[in-house]
């Protein structure tokens, strides 16, 4: 039976959601953090999207958010010229790291001992979280504000992106190893440790590069400007979203567009696969996070696969025949009605 994707909408934010990150898989499942211009990053259970808590303390838009591997710590980057480190179990603020300008990106090392930050002041900073009083190590070289900075190659190297350049740095020597120049603004960057792959988006392009050499592997063109893309952990699929509010799913090997989904009511700013690859989350200008199934119809998290014979009829919509309606129009109708399909549960907007 053909099943249609039902995205799960996570409400709570009041302004655009600009960044999101998953933790690794922990004994308590995996977790999802979202950065929002409302200045209140939120932690959720990754598989269900259930809200766990809100990190309160920033005095400006939060541009970047991340979790450490075991989801015990969170870090956020904000427009109030600070990065903060939080206890992700209690929600308490652990550290405020003062910067000289807006902070855009934060990333923990695998062992959670160091935090990498980057922002409008064009400097990369490395904080030793065990020495909160010590000054951070600084790496200069970027010529415009840093949008994203990530640890790579088992934390021995750093990847960072400013407006039109992606640079690779050596952590030990703090020197630039290589750089890539683009003629368009780089909108996002994702690093996949398995296989050392770097996913970069700019314009309508989704490009894959070696994270070791920065050499290009391949690239796809999307029908619209793409703001973010994510590669499936098993490297089967790529999902991407951007200015046309749609999520695109591609076959990573062939580059074929497999599906595209409507749901968001504004441009998509960020999209990431969960650590188990079962779902992907998207954050949008419309102030929501949505969770999407990688394999539509699988019973997972809050999605319940009901076989036709088990179907009590409660969830089934009346079957109407539209003999003269074109297929695309039917799709339109279907997606416009997509908010009414939770008919078995009264909708509670929190």
């Amino acid at each position: 039976m053909a099943m249609r994707q039902t995205p799960l909408t996570c409400s709570g934010h009041t302004r655009p959601v600009v960044d999101l990150a998953f933790s690794g898989i922990t004994p308590y499942g995996y977790f999802l953090i979202s950065a929002c211009k409302d200045g209140k990053p939120m932690l959720r259970q990754g598989d269900t999207g259930d809200w766990i808590g809100t990190f309160l303390g920033h005095k400006g838009a939060v541009w970047g958010a991340t979790l450490n591997k075991d989801a015990t710590k969170a870090a956020t980057a904000a427009a109030d010229f600070t990065a903060k480190v939080w206890d992700a179990v209690s929600g308490d603020e652990l550290m405020t790291l003062a910067h000289k300008h807006i902070v855009k990106t934060v990333d923990f090392t695998q062992d959670s001992n160091y935090l990498l930050t980057g922002g409008q002041d064009k400097l990369l900073r490395i904080y030793d979280l065990n020495k909160p009083e010590a000054e951070p190590k600084e790496i200069s070289g970027h010529t415009s504000g840093i949008k994203k900075a990530l640890w790579c190659s088992e934390d021995k190297q750093i990847l960072s992106a400013d407006d039109k350049t992606v640079r690779l740095w050596d952590h030990a020597t703090m020197t630039e190893v290589k750089s890539l120049n683009f003629n368009m603004s780089v909108s996002s960057m994702e690093y996949i440790p398995e296989g050392e792959i770097l996913v970069i988006t700019y314009g309508r392009s989704i490009a894959f590069h070696s994270a070791v050499s920065l050499d290009p592997i391949k690239s796809f063109e999307a029908p619209a400007t793409i703001n973010s893309a994510s590669l499936h952990p098993e490297k089967e699929f790529v999902v991407a979203g951007g200015e046309d509010f749609k999520l695109y799913k591609y076959d990573y090997n062939s580059g074929e567009e497999l599906e595209s989904y409507k749901g968001h009511f504004g441009p998509i700013h960020c999209v990431r696969f969960s650590p188990d690859g079962e779902l992907y989350a998207s954050g949008s200008e419309d102030g929501t996070l949505r969770l999407w199934q990688t394999v539509v119809g699988k019973t997972y998290g809050l999605w319940k696969c009901v076989l036709p014979e088990e179907d009590s009829g409660e969830l089934a919509k009346p079957k109407i025949n539209f003999p003269e309606t074109a297929e695309e129009e039917l799709e339109e109708i279907a997606s416009e009605n997509s908010d009414s399909i939770y008919s078995s549960t009264p909708e509670v907007k929190a």
Partner: protein, 125 residues
């Protein structure tokens, strides 16, 4: 590609959102650290014994929880040792459900161990 009139995947409910009244991170949530226990000075021998039993019981139950899915070495009567992946126990802790039970006559894919036969068990957390 999506097929028109395809059935939408049913959902059990919507993700829970913030409740608006607090910042969350329930202090009694699943990941909250166990609170340090401040035991009251025991008033009588009876309450002292009850507390001892309670804490032993708690430790035992926590050990069961911790060894789910791990290889565990069970010491049975007459010094028999078997290794198996611990799965679960029944409500009254009378039987252990294990898998990959390594016995002298071969590996049992799934098995039940009678708790009364087990003298001790060890596992690495």
């Amino acid at each position: 590609m999506q097929t028109p009139l395809a059935t939408p995947v049913p959902v059990l409910r919507l993700p829970r959102g913030p409740d608006g009244s607090n910042r969350g991170f329930a202090p009694d949530g699943r990941r909250a650290p166990p609170k340090p226990e401040v035991p009251e000075p025991p008033e009588s021998r009876e309450s002292w014994e009850q507390q001892a039993r309670a804490s032993l019981r708690e430790r035992y139950l926590r050990s069961l929880l911790a060894m789910v899915g791990r290889p565990v070495c069970f010491t049975l009567h007459e010094g028999v040792q078997v290794i198996a992946h611990f799965g679960a126990t029944d409500l009254d802790v009378a039987n252990f459900y294990v898998s990959q039970l390594q016995t002298p006559i071969g590996i049992q894919a799934e098995a039940l161990l009678r708790c009364s036969d087990i003298i001790s068990y060890t596992f690495k957390p």
